[in-house]
Every structure is written in structure tokens, then in C-alpha cells.
């Protein structure tokens, strides 16, 4: 399984010279499964560049949306494969009692916010509510679960062979909860992230910033680290960077996070801040074990 980060920013795109190293595009992660199947996790502005990088040939793509806040869907109408008739796109997302996934997305892909309507997209696009139970896409088993954020929001776990990716970009598991004391089954998102090869997790706020943002649906650094430690994820990327955080500020946040991580007993090499365009290959555990000998 190959993972590429096309957008690591949260809330709103933050382009400019002060964000050039960590990136300014909003949430999008490309995943290439071991059988070649292609997934996009969220469709923030980062998906525009993902689309440009894909070959112009018939393809079937799956887009897994965690939720429908604008920073997770804004790139949909600029996703080049959506304008190719030979492309089939399956968009997965959370159910809502209010309206279907298609109707909710169509509020954005429609006038006056968009020059095109969903029905005008040349590709073969379909919309599916994520099931409660595990399902398969290509060589992977996918599981979605509701997590603590504002509005219907999912986290995902993707198991492909022995490797696993947990993607929970918008998450406030410490809202009203002490993550250090709570039993595992009472921690939002725990089952998705447990022992994952790679955890991509919300790390939007510093601990000093968080008190002014309680209940906004995002994590302070210490909450993200506590969550990661409790779940036993092998490697963690802090994601969904605040648009107000410059590269220099993220460097400081990263250094403070490393210190906290070590104090929690974590290996310094297993925690990083997510960087746009960076890639991670998740080898099968058998291969990892052989490499360690």
C-alpha cells in the first residue's frame, strides 16, 4: 500500500511562501492498494493535483469522504478525472437523516457555488453511504466508523494484506474525556486506529490554542499524541494543520510534539508532521520482519 499526501491543511487552503514546506492544500490522501486500485481519502483542494497526476485512461476510482465540510470536498469540481467520460468514480461518505449523500454534495456542486451540476459531470459517478460493516475495495478491506467531530463524520481504516492505514483527519476524542483513563472501547476512533501501521490524525491546535477551540472538532497536540499512544499505531502523522500555522510555527509545534511523544514513551522516529506531496510505503509485516533481521 502506497500513501501520498496531496493536501495536509485544515479548514481553508493556505497557499503562500510561509506555508510552502508543509503545504497549503486541504485534506486529500491518495492510496494505491497492492492490487493497483486507487483510493482518494477526502477531496479537499489537494485532490486537484492528485487528478492531474493520474494517467488519462479508463479507470475506476474510489473517493472516501470523512465528512462534507468544505475543506474535504472543495476539490471535487476541479478533479480532472471527473470530466473524463471513461472514468468511473464511486464516492463514499457518511449517511445523514437529513438527505442523501448525493443531495448533500450537490449543494456544493450546483449554482451559484459551482459552474457545473452533479448531473453534468461527464464521468460515471455514483454515491454510496458507508456501511456499518467492513467492505472490500480491490485488495483492501475498508471499515468506517463515526468519530467525534461536528456533524456526521467518519474515520477510516484500510487493511491491505498485513498493512493498515487509519485516517482520522478531523477528530476531537478528548472532548469531555480523559484519554489516559478511559477504557479503550469508550474512546472515539480507537478501534479504527488500533495497531495501525500508519495513523494519519488531526493535530490542528497547539495545547495553548486548544482552550479557545474546545468543541470545534479538532485535537490539541497532546490529545493526538495520547490517542496515538493508546492505540499502539506504529507510525503517526499529525495532519490537518491550522491555516494560521506557518512553516516555522509548524516546526516549533513538531519539536514540542516530539518532546511530548518521547515523554509518553514513544519512539522519536515514529511521529512526524504531515508534509504535502510526501509519500509513505507500507510494506507487508512479513517483509518488515525480514528487513529487521
Amino acid at each position: 500500500m502506497k500513501v501520498k499526501l496531496w493536501g495536509t491543511r485544515g479548514s481553508i487552503p493556505a497557499p503562500g511562501p510561509e506555508t510552502i514546506r508543509y503545504g497549503g492544500n486541504t485534506s486529500c490522501v491518495g492510496v494505491t492498494l497492492s492490487d493497483g486500485s486507487m483510493l482518494a481519502l477526502d477531496a479537499g483542494t489537494g485532490i486537484r493535483c492528485l487528478g492531474l497526476a493520474l494517467p488519462d485512461e479508463p479507470a475506476r476510482l474510489h473517493i472516501l469522504l470523512t465528512h462534507l465540510h468544505l475543506d474535504h470536498i472543495q476539490g471535487l469540481v476541479f478533479f480532472a478525472p471527473a470530466f473524463r467520460p471513461q472514468t468511473e468514480i464511486v464516492i463514499w461518505g457518511p449517511a445523514s437523516p437529513e438527505a442523501s449523500l448525493r443531495d448533500r454534495i450537490a449543494r456544493y456542486i450546483s449554482a451559484p457555488l459551482s459552474p457545473v451540476e452533479v448531473r453534468e459531470l461527464p464521468c460515471d459517478v455514483s454515491f454510496r453511504h458507508c456501511p456499518e460493516s467492513e467492505w472490500e475495495i480491490g485488495s483492501a478491506r475498508i471499515r468506517a466508523a463515526s468519530v467525534t467531530h461536528r456533524g456526521p463524520t467518519l474515520g477510516y481504516r484500510i487493511d491491505d494484506g498485513d498493512s493498515s492505514l487509519a485516517y482520522i483527519p478531523d477528530h476531537e476524542p478528548a472532548l469531555g474525556a480523559d484519554l489516559a483513563q478511559m477504557d479503550e472501547d469508550w474512546i472515539s476512533g480507537f478501534a479504527l486506529a488500533r495497531d495501525a501501521s500508519l495513523l494519519i490524525h488531526d493535530g490542528q491546535y497547539t495545547d495553548a490554542e486548544y482552550p479557545c477551540h474546545v468543541g470545534w472538532g479538532h485535537s490539541a497536540t497532546s490529545h493526538a499524541l495520547s490517542f496515538a499512544r493508546r492505540t499502539g499505531a506504529e507510525r503517526t502523522l499529525l495532519f490537518h494543520h491550522d491555516p494560521l500555522h506557518s512553516d516555522d510555527q509548524l516546526d516549533e509545534l513538531g519539536a514540542a510534539a516530539q518532546q511530548q511523544w518521547v515523554e509518553l514513551g514513544g519512539d522519536p522516529g515514529t511521529l512526524e508532521l504531515a508534509v504535502e506531496r510526501s509519500e509513505v510505503e507500507l510494506p507487508a509485516r512479513a517483509a518488515k520482519a525480514a528487513a529487521a533481521v
Partner: protein, 139 residues
Amino acid sequence: MSFVTQRPLELILARNLMSALSTPAFLVDEGGLLVFYNEAAGMLLGKRFEELGTVGPQEWGSLFGPFDENGEPIPYDELPLVTAVRGGRPAHAELTVRSTDGTHHEVEVSAFPIQTPHGSQGAIAVFWPTANGNGAEPA
């Protein structure tokens, strides 16, 4: 790989909210298992949830009474929480609960089901001590 059992998010959020309340509150899952009550409820009953732990529906019904205004035990199926979790509708009642030291407390109880896109996940009951203070003695 198998996944660990995870509580539904709605129960997690309900528990987190209840933990912050000073109103006695109880949480049961879809099977009627008492999975949490808060500190205020613990003070009312004389036992913290951490001491009691998760208990089955018959057990929590008998642990603390409850009794009606005549001091008669209220049948399990008529308890507001049971109505909420089984019937999927809110319920309200006045009843008396017995704390572990034998003291009786008259309370009003409102219970409502936790409905989600995937169906009922349990129910919450909130207790309001009445102005009368101690409740009816068992008959």
C-alpha cells in the same frame, strides 16, 4: 485482522456529556445493559459506577428499588429506561430509589431513547430529586 469492539459514538458522546453534569444520569446500551452513570447518580445511590461496573438490566432494576408512591416495587418492564430502550419512546415517572445505606430518595425520572441513523443504540435517564426529599418506604 479482527477489530476491537467499539461503543457507538452516540454512547461515547452521551457518557462524556453526562460526566460533566451535576444532574444524576444513567446510560444503558441497546441491550439494556447499564453501561454508565455519573458521579451525581453515584452520590444519590451511594455507590460510584466504578465500584459497581456494568450490570445487566434485571440487576440494576433490583439494586436500587425502585418503588412507586405506595412503596411497591415497580415491575422492571414499567421502568422509564426500559420503556425508552425497548419501546423506542420517551418515558417519565415519579418513583423512589434506595441508596446502599438504605436511604430512600423520591425522584422524577425522564428517559429517552438514543436513536441514530443505524437505529436505537440505547437510552439515557435523568433523575430529578423532588422537593419532598425522602420517598416512600417499601411496603
